[in-house]
Amino acid sequence: MSILKSKDNKIARFFINNAVPILFILFAVFAIPMADLSIEYLVAEMITRLARYSFLVLALLIPVIAGMGMNFGIVLGAMAGQVGLIFVMDWGVMGVPAFFLAIIISMPLAVFLGWMAGIALNHAKGREMVTSYILGFFINGVYQLLVLYSMGSIIPINNSKIVLPRGYGIRNAIDLVNLRKSVDRLIPLEINGIEIPVMTFILVAILCVFIVWFRKTKLGQDMRAVGQNMEVARNAGIPVERTRILAIVISTVLACIGQIIFLQNIGTMNTYNSHEQIGMFSIAALLVGGASVAKASIKNAFVGIILFHIMFVVAPRAGKTLMGEAQIGEYFRVFVSYAIIAIALALHAWRKNKEAEFARRSLRVDTEEAAGTSE
């Protein structure tokens, strides 16, 4: 009987564990025909968006391994990346060298921010996600102080194209004309009229290899141990706090590179907004891909980006066909992005509580049986 049960359980478990991606696949199946978009267009869109978001979404994986949940603090890395871009733009550097130079400049800042965030999160164990979320807002204030008030006054910025007319502070939108698609087009390739950003995908592939390799290092193993049980890890002599800080530092640095990739693809930088939504979109995408707060893989990241962005592209059109209004679709995708995080987090918390209960119940059956045999 128990075998049969476990088989049923397996199927049920598969559906429960993959409820979110399944929901999105169903959505896609219904909404794509309604949106009346050509497949070529969708494919091209997805390729662009994969190139644009992969690095950022993959940046989330390492804190998950270390048991710190979804790192909303990747916006810190994004901000660091933008600071690097501002300098590169100011100096008038162009193309691929500009891309790498921006990474080199922003890296120390990203490390520093990640390190601070790690310390803060060590003080908020069990509340990492809310804390990293608020941390993003807080550092955003500091970023404004730096970019809007100090740049051009305290920090020398001379390029009048990026400085506000008042003489200091960076403009709201910076045209990254020198940088636009420079990496994407470094190795040009077109298939059926669809442009493939080969170099970007190579960078993403390198990151994937890095993540796979990293998991097999001592540090990766330590992170897994810390993520599963901090106390046991501590007792085994693993420096728990330091390991957690390192996880956040790595994530922040990757996010910094990710943001620079993202912006070179978009081609314009909204100095005060480009980073804000990054955390939310990346996390929503990862969760849509079937990841949970405690477990996330590279596969989740890619599946998630595709499914989430299909929703993103299709929703306004489908909304228009269905409700006669594109605006509804706009709100719909905002709703879905947030709701998906809410649902995924709630499911995870609920499952966690249920599993604890289940573990207790399994003991109880044991007790009853034991009671039965002794009679």
Binding site: K218, Q221, A225, R361, R364, A370, A371
Partner: protein
């Protein structure tokens, strides 16, 4: 041959803030020998082992005096890591394993076999790559040394309890330096057949030349595998003998026997309970309380008696009141005053006229962040709607703060609770006074039956006597039936009319408090 001595502990003395837990303990352990360490809870076994293992608790609480000599060298372990380096391994009662890891990964945890690569030079040792294959091989070897059939690639979360235990042992074995292994109740969570394998594993380790300190409550096991045994009582070493020169009866006598005048003396006469009316009838009770599982308990409690429940920690005595009062999932039949009690429903139990003083003062017994008067009055207010003013025809049930303060003051005076006022926060009180607040809370309900769990745990001697006297007084004056669960046998014997001993979740027997100590010991240790 003095060379044969691996471990010497000389004159080990330790106190926790003036509370003497170990006094002048001397013991020796030979290479390849198994030493059984027995004693009641609180006899000082864990403290002694913590000292040996260099636990940080010891250092934080002021260190210890005495000397530890391992392999002829004087050791002073600053932390467990020092102890591990010196070759002392310990397997704790609660598993120190990571559930999502394979056995091999756990065995090699933080001692992974690594290979340097370029990044090590840049970012440090922690970026070296793991040699998974070799680790699995090595872990498998350690497991094979232990002598059990377990694949090193099995996930810990998918293992039965025994295998987890073996994994822990394998981890200690794998440290090449390990000369001494401390096993803290390794068989407590095992089934009988698993325990058998466990014992043979321990024997095999000893044959390999590793010395083992084996802590267990099962005297049978001690007799079976240990070369010598040491009995601790009240922080003193009472006996160190070769196992073949003794028998379980003697051991249990050494364990529980107090020095004259050591425990509280019995004053009141023992009530004759045979003729008394049964007030609480318990049949086939099971309780799923972690660490205190109750399996199948039948009890008949008589009206007006003080009923003691004793037994070693973790055997299930605490599960009985917690189960009946609905705090942990339970099943079976419970009848109180002829009425069937709905289990898993604290409100129902309270409404039926039962009250409970929990052993867990901080987590269950008190609202630490609230004042004393709240703590005392809350239960009675919620269950019996007392100390409330009804306004607008009962639409608003207004808390009567004055009446609450008055009630609290009564109990403060009665139980001599030391506090600045009834508005003082519970967390600011000392342990004894907190316990009195818990009692006051239960008395305020005016119950017909009162469960008291570990009434004197963690409080000083003066307060202890007062708490026991108060219980006695309430029993006499108001005829409240009281069920006391305690790990302190002497305490139970001093106030109870009958004492039940719980062992492995079952009632091992019920004795009169005047019965000889030996009998209690025998029941506790199921010898």
């Amino acid at each position: 041959m003095p060379d044969d001595i691996l471990l010497k502990m000389k004159n080990i003395t330790k106190d926790f803030y003036g509370n003497q837990v170990l006094t002048g303990v001397n013991m020796e352990l030979k290479r390849g020998h198994i030493l059984g360490l027995v004693g009641e809870n609180g006899a000082g076994k864990s403290t002694l082992m913590n000292i040996l293992f260099g636990s940080t608790v010891i250092k934080e609480t002021g260190g210890f005096t005495g000397e530890i000599e391992l392999d002829g060298k004087i050791c002073n372990f600053e932390s467990p890591f020092d102890a591990l380096d010196a070759g002392v391994g310990m397997v704790h009662q609660e598993f120190m394993l990571i559930p999502g890891f394979q056995a091999a990964e756990n065995i090699m945890l933080n001692r992974e076999l690594t290979q340097r690569n370029f990044w090590v030079d840049v970012f440090g040792e922690r970026l070296s790559s793991l040699k998974n294959e070799e680790m699995i091989k090595r872990a498998q070897k350690a497991i094979d040394t232990v002598g059990v059939d377990l694949d090193a690639k099995t996930l810990v979360s998918e293992m039965p309890v025994a295998h987890k235990q073996f994994t822990e042992i394998a981890r200690e074995i794998d440290r090449e330096a390990t000369k001494l292994l401390i096993l803290d109740e390794p068989t407590a969570v095992l089934t009988e057949s698993e325990a058998e394998i466990m014992l043979s594993v321990v024997r095999r380790l000893a044959d390999m030349g590793i010395s083992v300190i084996f802590i267990s409550h099962r005297l049978k096991e001690i007799m079976q595998i240990c070369n010598e045994l040491v009995v601790l009582r009240d922080g003193k070493l009472v006996k160190e003998v070769p196992t073949n020169e003794t028998n379980p009866e003697k051991i249990s006598e050494w364990m529980v026997g107090r020095e004259i005048g050591g425990g509280p003396a019995r004053e009141a006469p023992v009530k004759q309970t045979e003729e008394m009316e049964t007030v609480l009838k318990v049949r086939n009770l099971w309780v799923d309380m972690p660490g205190e599982r109750v399996i199948n308990v039948d009890l008949d409690i008589k009206k007006g008696e003080i009923f003691g429940i004793g037994g070693l920690a973790g055997q299930g005595k605490l599960g009985i009141p917690n189960g009946i009062m609905g705090l942990y999932p339970a099943g079976g039949k419970v009848e109180f005053q002829g009425k069937k009690i709905k289990l898993n429903n604290p409100r129902f139990a309270l409404d039926s006229g039962m009250a409970f003083v929990s052993e867990d003062r901080r987590d269950v017994g008190l609202l630490l962040e609230e004042p004393i008067d709240w703590n005392i009055s809350f239960t009675v207010m919620q269950t019996q709607e007392k100390y409330l003013k009804k306004i607008l025809g009962g639409l608003i049930k207004w808390r009567d703060d004055k009446a609450i303060a008055k009630l609290a003051q009564e109990y403060i005076d009665l139980l001599e609770i030391r506090c600045t006022s009834s508005k003082q926060l519970a967390k600011e009180l000392s342990g004894g006074n907190q316990q009195k607040v818990c009692l006051a809370k239960a008395f305020a309900v005016r119950p017909d039956l009162l469960f008291v769990s570990e009434p004197t745990r963690g409080i000083d001697v003066g307060a202890k006597q007062l708490v026991l006297d108060t219980l006695h007084e309430y029993n006499e004056k108001y005829g409240i039936t009281i069920i006391v669960c305690s790990s302190e046998l002497e305490e139970l014997r001093s106030i109870s009319d009958r004492v039940a001993i719980v062992s492995e979740g079952r009632i091992a027997g019920i004795l009169s408090p005047t019965a000889p100590l030996k009998e209690f010991g025998a029941l506790m240790l199921e010898a």
